[in-house]
Structure formats: C-alpha cells, structure tokens
C-alpha cells in the first residue's frame, strides 16, 4: 500500500520510531495499557520523552521511575487496583526523584483537546473549569486552556482547550487484519479521538485475524492500515490491564507491582528483574507462566463468529 504500513517486531518498532527526546502519545485508559511498550522503551534506554496519556497507571509510573520521562501530560495517574499509590510518580512529584515536569487536564478537557486535534480544528469548547486548579496551574503548556466570549451570547465566557495533536502515538488494540484494519472490542474511551489526533500511529495488537472477522464487526474498527505506520503483534501486550475479548486484568500483578516499587531500591530491583532482566515481552510472559496467563483469558467466540 502506498501508505506503507508494515509489520515489525516490538523492539524494531520502538527503536525505529521512539527516540530519546520524542513526544509520544500512549494509548489505553486503564485498559489496553501497553506495558509491553513501556518495558521495551526502558530496555532500550530511551530518555527525555514527553509522554501524553489519559490515565497514567503502571505504564507511566514505570517510565517515570526508570527516568524515561521528562515531561508528562495526564488526566490522572494511579494504580487502580486497591487503589494503591503509584510510588514512582509520587517520588517524582513529591521529591523530584527523578524530576519530571507535570501538566494536567481533567479527563473531559483532555478528551476535548484530542477531539479538536483529531478533527483538525484549533480548539474546542470544553468543561467549564473556571476557578479550578487544573485551569489555573500551567507548567510546560501555558496555553492549554483559555476562555473565549461566545459570539452567540456576549455575556458568556466559554472555557476552551487547545487542540492536542501529538506527532506520534502508540496504541494497543485487540486485533488487526493483514491490511492493518484495527479493532477494539468493547468500550473505547478516548481511543478513536486519540488515534485521529496523532500525526503518526503505531499499533500493537494481540493477533492478526482474517479480514472476515473484521468485516463482521465493522463498527469496532478504530483504524485502518492507511492511517497506521506500523503494527507489532504482541500477545498479552496490555498485561496486566484488560484487553476486552482476550483477557482481563491481573489484579494480583497490580499489587505486586505496588509492593515491589514502594521504595527506590525496590523499584530498581524490579526493573532489573522484570524489565532489563528479560530479552523481550515473550520472556517476561514466560516467567509469569502459562497457567497464570490462561487464568486471565476471557476469549468469547462471539467476537470471532462470521456467520
């Protein structure tokens, strides 16, 4: 195809597209969170990223603790099982270890910013946020939010959010076909908007399926090959979060992560063992064990039926 979508391994994808100092949108909203990507970024020693992500979770916490992130735009960041603190995030913000620059939007404003960016429009009215800290506090995006007077009601000041249009985004999806048509099964949060907003889109997918399966659920399509730079097939790429139709979140792993990373030393040991201590995501999964992964599986045949 003219647009040149190609299949790559995850290490190849990360080394070709994600460079130190880059700005990177990471898909997922506490589901389809691509931990496999974060691990690979850390393994490749990439640093100084500007990361944009709606819901931080373990993916961003890990990247912060590993020193991969310089600037971060999020709407919230936690370990949602428990919930337990995201320790690396807390150490970075409370103690500057390591230092990050943090910028925040409410999830609604974040969504509207992606909507504007995805639609090719310069800004979008959004949630009234006057008086909130989110409106008032600005760091590396001093013009993230503003107000305009409504041309239809001069008495009314409307909060608007500037378009968010990241140069590069990486998203976990459920499945693709050979042409790169990508689907998420179930709720999509801001995924469609974010994929449109990103100038270039990378995908990691659970599997390649026959195009007949894609065509039986065309309403689940979130991207097509011509929008996509590259695809990596990475089973359990969203572990330990949910990939609907394939597996559910590993609750225990969320706690294990929180406990292991509660101290800086623990964090280092965790990364040495679980991230740098393995060659790739396959080895990471092998250590978890087939039985553990099988226990998470939720595959339902209705998603694959093409009758």
């Amino acid at each position: 195809m003219r647009h040149g979508m190609r299949f790559l391994s995850l290490p190849e994808m990360v080394s070709r597209y994600v460079h130190s100092g880059a700005t990177l949108y990471i898909g997922g909203f506490a589901f389809d969170d691509p931990l496999a990507v974060a691990h690979e970024i850390v393994r490749q020693g990439i640093r100084d990223l500007t990361v944009i992500k709606s819901s931080g979770g373990i993916v961003v916490d890990l990247l912060i603790g590993a020193g991969a992130i310089r600037r971060l735009l999020v709407s919230h960041l936690w370990n949602s099982v428990g919930p337990t603190p995201a320790h690396a995030f807390r150490r970075a913000v409370e103690r500057g270890q390591p230092p990050i620059e943090l910028e925040e939007l409410s999830y609604g404003a974040f969504t509207c910013g992606l909507l504007a960016g995805g639609m090719g429009l310069p800004f979008m009215p959004t949630t009234p946020l006057m008086g909130t800290g989110t409106f008032g506090e600005r760091t590396f995006l001093p013009d993230k939010l503003a107000t305009v007077r409504s041309p239809f009601d001069p008495a009314s000041e409307v909060v608007v959010v500037k378009a968010i249009a990241p140069p590069l985004g990486i998203f976990h999806v459920a499945r693709v076909d050979r042409e790169g048509t990508a689907q998420i099964l179930g709720p999509v949060a801001e995924t469609r908007l974010a994929m449109a907003a990103c100038q270039r889109v990378l995908l990691i997918a659970e599997e390649v399926v026959d195009t007949a399966a894609i065509r039986s659920r065309p309403e689940c399509t979130v991207a097509f090959g011509a929008q996509v730079e590259a695809v990596a097939v990475v089973p359990f790429g969203a572990f330990p979060t949910d990939c609907h139709g394939y597996y559910r979140r590993d609750l225990a792993y969320h706690l294990e992560y929180a406990q292991a990373t509660a101290s800086p030393e623990g964090f280092e040991a965790y990364v040495a063992r679980e991230v740098r201590g393995v060659a790739d995501h396959g080895e990471f999964l092998a250590r978890l064990g087939a039985e553990r992964l099988a226990g998470l599986a939720t595959r339902q045949e209705r998603w694959w039926s093409v009758a």
Partner: protein, 261 residues
C-alpha cells in the same frame, strides 16, 4: 460500622429508575449496595463509555476492569459518557469519591499541600472535574481525619458551590449542578439554604458534637438539635454490605482499617 453506614447512606440517595454517573472507587461500591440492599434499578454510566444496568457477580476494581462488561448495555467512548450523557444533563446524580473536601464542597483529589510541592501527591482529576461541573454531585468519603476536611482545599480538582470566592453559577457552571450532599463516616452534609456551604444535616448514631467539631475545618453544624439521626441499618442490610466488602477484599480493594478483616 461507620464505613458500612456511609455506603448505605450514600446508596439511599440513588433514585429509583435514575441515571447515575459513577466515579471510581467507593462510588462503585455505593452503586452495588443500592442494588443489593435497596433493590434499586438504575443505569450506571462510567467515564470510559461503559453503561451498566445490573449487578455483576464480581466487584470490579475500576470501570476499566471489564469483569463487569457482561452487565453492560452500552460500550461507548468517553466523549459520549462525559458529554453526550453527563454534559447534556441526562444524569440524575453523579457520585464522586472525595479524598479532601472543603466547606464549599470543593474536592481536591490532586494533592495534599501546595500543587508544585505537594506533601502527598494524589491521582489527579480524571473525570472528577466533569462530575462536579456537569453533575448533581453526591460526594462520598471514608475519611474520618480532620485533614480531609479543611476550610479550603489547596487545589480545586472538582468545583463546589463557591470556587475561588465566586459562586459557581457566575463561573459558567450550568445551573442545577454542583454538590447536593457529602456522605462521611459521621453523617450527611448538605448545601445550606443559600447553597454556599456544607452543613451536617444528618448524623449517624453515636456521633457527638465534639467529634463533628474536631473533624470539619469549618462550623459544620447550625443547631445540634436540628441534626437528624439516621436510623441504624438493620442486620440484613449490614450482612449484605459485609458480603459486598468481602467480595471487594477478595478483589484487592483496600478497605478502611475498621473493616480490614
């Protein structure tokens, strides 16, 4: 016991047949208690686009824990949930976890201490700003400590009745929105008649004036005798809540110390 009462009291606010926007954390348990104890039927809308109308077997750890997708009637996106449903005014109630809340019902779920040098960094807004901007908001908290109830929060994540000195209506928030109640382990606070600050209107049995005075960072009681006492839940209700908490615990919920079994 105070945690169970808090869940029960909050659950009682859910209107039969209503549309309820449910925030992360305790609000998800409140919704379950409303179904199990009060038999309420209502629609739960979540910020990720999930819409649910019945109880799932397991307690989901977050709206993005899709073990409850079998109870879903719609799988949409966040723009649909936050704006086409909530922003458009379709929700009867929005239930929001309130880690720190002030006299005006402003909620801080971002930081303890100054934003740029916080003593404790919390999760941040997510959709909490939207729940408070567009919803008739029921705030719920399991906190008993005075530090959770300052006169003024250090960071307004979710706008209350008065934000930075201005009434919310003056700041462009839609009319008919804002906090309608704050359920705490001590009892229920409501906006006063002028809708400017939260006052205790119902207390749980055994809660004393001193305890209230020591907890809230503002004069949260007019006349003590005007504060109603919420009837103690019966054994059946408590047993259902206990069962719910056992399910939550088995899915790794961190429960308040009083109920950690």
């Amino acid at each position: 016991m105070s945690f169970a009462r808090m869940l029960l009291r909050a659950a009682a606010e859910i209107p039969e047949g209503g549309v309820v926007f449910v925030g992360f954390h305790w609000p998800m348990l409140v919704a379950r208690v409303a179904r199990r104890v009060y038999g309420r039927r209502f629609l739960e809308v979540y910020e990720n686009g999930v819409v649910v109308d019945r109880l799932s077997e397991e307690v989901p750890t977050s709206p993005c824990d899709f073990r409850f997708m079998d109870s879903a009637v719609a799988a949409l996106g966040s723009m649909e949930a936050l704006y086409l449903v909530l922003g458009r005014g379709r929700c009867d109630l929005a239930i929001l976890d309130a880690p720190i809340v002030d006299r005006h019902g402003n909620v801080d779920s971002t930081c303890v201490g100054p934003y740029r040098h916080p003593r404790v960094r919390l999760a941040g807004s997510g959709g909490a700003a939207e729940l408070g901007a567009f919803g008739r908001t029921l705030l719920v908290t399991s906190n008993r400590e005075a530090r959770s109830y300052p006169a003024q929060v250090p960071f307004v994540t979710t706008p209350g009745l008065v934000v930075g000195g201005a009434a919310r209506e003056e700041l462009g928030y839609p009319s008919g929105t804002g906090p309608v109640g704050l359920v705490t382990p001590l009892g229920m606070l409501r906006p006063d008649a002028g809708r400017r600050e939260l006052l205790l209107v119902e207390r749980f049995a055994g809660v004393s004036p001193d305890e209230v005075a020591a907890t809230f960072g503002w004069p949260a009681v007019g006349r003590w005798d005007d504060v109603a006492v919420w009837p103690e839940p019966d054994a059946e209700a408590l047993a259902l809540v206990d069962d719910e908490l056992a399910r939550a615990r088995s899915n790794f919920y961190r429960l308040p110390e009083e109920v950690v079994g």
